[in-house]
Assembly symmetry: C2
């Protein structure tokens, strides 16, 4: 019987502009790692938090703890877990760090226990973790993290959407933290029907454009009129960064998750490299240092990386 | 040179519940026919209106006249058209009669002139016709009528969505007319974010479910929380008719277009036949006689039927 399991889960671009709360895709590069061990008693305790974030809750408000509590209770386990969390995703970056810790925890626990739970069950437990972090329970980060690539998560279904392998995503992360709860507060005003119709149609077009590899469809579709206008004022330099992305050939650009990171999609790696420089320069122009990622839109899935 | 052309255009289920203003599909059975002839001068005049509707406007408020005016002006024609309109689609039924007359008119004129205009151009002219009828310019009826089958019409793009050939749509049309303008008036109150998210996700799932032939996805998706609750009170018996459809195995049911017709989707012809009877009985229970159509969801496209 295994005594410890470690899993990694990738960063994600949530919402993807027009897929608020239902669409996301993963990113290559640093993610979160969680190591899980059995402990006597039903306690779930965090023994270490390392990496880019030191100040995370260690109690029930920790997303990994909440996810494992859900798993333990559903399986009726008579033992608990000890966790070590290595954060590769900065807090409040809009890159789905809270989801990644929750997903890595359930993937690791599933391997440790040998339960081979189906994705829909792992999804439900990870979502219980996400709920304590964001105040909502949306699957646009958990779904992609579990399946990899671009995933629609709606009505309990997870659908992986095909995307051309060459397509790239650039993410520019300014050194500025936004809390998802704060970014949700600006969304309380009611929405106009015309904006709702535009958003629904664009989400559908975006998925069709990805599945068919049709850049004209994606360019028409990847324009968020519903959420981005309300959140953009929270991110200094957003308009300039988006403009820089589009001028460098992006298919579209918007906030990643609740922000402040900005993502842009490109047809290929050369465009993406130029776009990344332009986006970083635009953030610098607004007085914000930033770091960059360039990844296939078809990013990796969470995975078990050690089982001892 | 041809002297007269006649085209037919099918009835449509607009909105399809969760695709408000962007999704529709055509129906087998009676549609509208328009015969177009050249006349000297630039006038566009209606010479006859026959069929199930006698009381249509004959001036610029006629959708076929408005569509041909748009076509004539765009092509810079030095002549006009005389029209004869055979209505197979009752006015105010929610089966897209106004769109059908506009589409049949532009298809017939295109054949008469030999211009072979691409669908996107025919779409724009037919939409000019739709605009005078509904007060809006949405393509969820024009798009399907032009291409046939289930069509997403958004941001100027028309995408035909594959649907299993066996799937059927039942439409129960109560003998009661609703004006689209009146049905739009109930949509002015603002929309909650949670309903918007549900609707966007369900539209995306519905299209995926159709493309993959996955009935579980369609059952999850074909539930409109945004528009139907506001319009249903305008249609006596709606709740009972929808319940009858679902009890008879429908994948989902909602208002066709702005109503009062109610549509339901079924996996096959036998289910659909049982559902049709149940839906008609439910309307009768609410004191409304109704008539029925059963059609493949992959219904026909508009077509030229005579060129002399």
């Amino acid at each position: 019987m295994a005594t410890a399991a470690t899993a990694s889960a990738p960063a994600c671009v949530g919402n993807v502009g027009v897929g608020f709360d239902v669409l996301g895709h993963t990113l290559e590069g640093p993610g979160d790692r969680v190591c899980v061990r059995r402990v006597a008693g039903r306690t779930i305790r965090v023994e270490a938090i390392r990496g880019v974030v030191g100040e995370l809750p260690r109690d029930a408000d920790n997303t990994a703890v909440a996810a494992l509590t859900s798993l333990r209770d559903a399986l009726g386990l008579d033992h608990g877990f000890a966790l070590e969390i290595d954060k590769g995703i900065p807090l409040g970056s809009g890159l789905a760090g809270s989801a990644a810790s929750a997903v890595a925890a359930v993937i690791a626990a599933d391997a440790l226990l040998g339960t081979q739970l189906p994705p829909a069950v792992l999804f439900a437990h990870a979502l219980a973790g996400e709920r304590v972090a964001s105040g909502g329970a949306n699957g646009d980060n958990i779904g992609p993290s579990l399946l990899g690539g671009l995933v629609l998560a709606a009505e309990g279904h997870l659908l992986r959407v095909p995307v051309p392998a060459a397509w790239r995503c650039v993410v520019a992360r300014p050194h500025l933290a936004l809390l998802t709860r704060d970014a949700r507060a600006v969304l309380t005003a009611p929405f106009a029907l015309s904006d709702v119709v535009a958003q629904c149609g664009r989400l559908a077009l975006l998925l069709a454009g990805c599945a068919c590899g049709d850049v004209a469809l994606v360019r028409s579709a990847l324009r968020d009129v519903l959420i981005e206008p309300r959140r953009a004022p929270l991110v200094p330099g957003f308009a300039a960064v988006k403009a820089a992305a589009l001028e460098s050939g992006a298919l579209g650009a918007s906030l990643s998750g609740a922000g402040p990171s900005v993502f842009a999609w490109y047809e290929g790696a050369a465009d993406a490299a130029r776009g990344a420089e332009a986006m970083q320069a635009a953030f610098a122009g607004a007085g914000l240092p930033s770091d960059l990622r360039v990844s296939p839109i078809n990013g990796p899935a969470a995975a078990v990386i050690a089982l001892d």
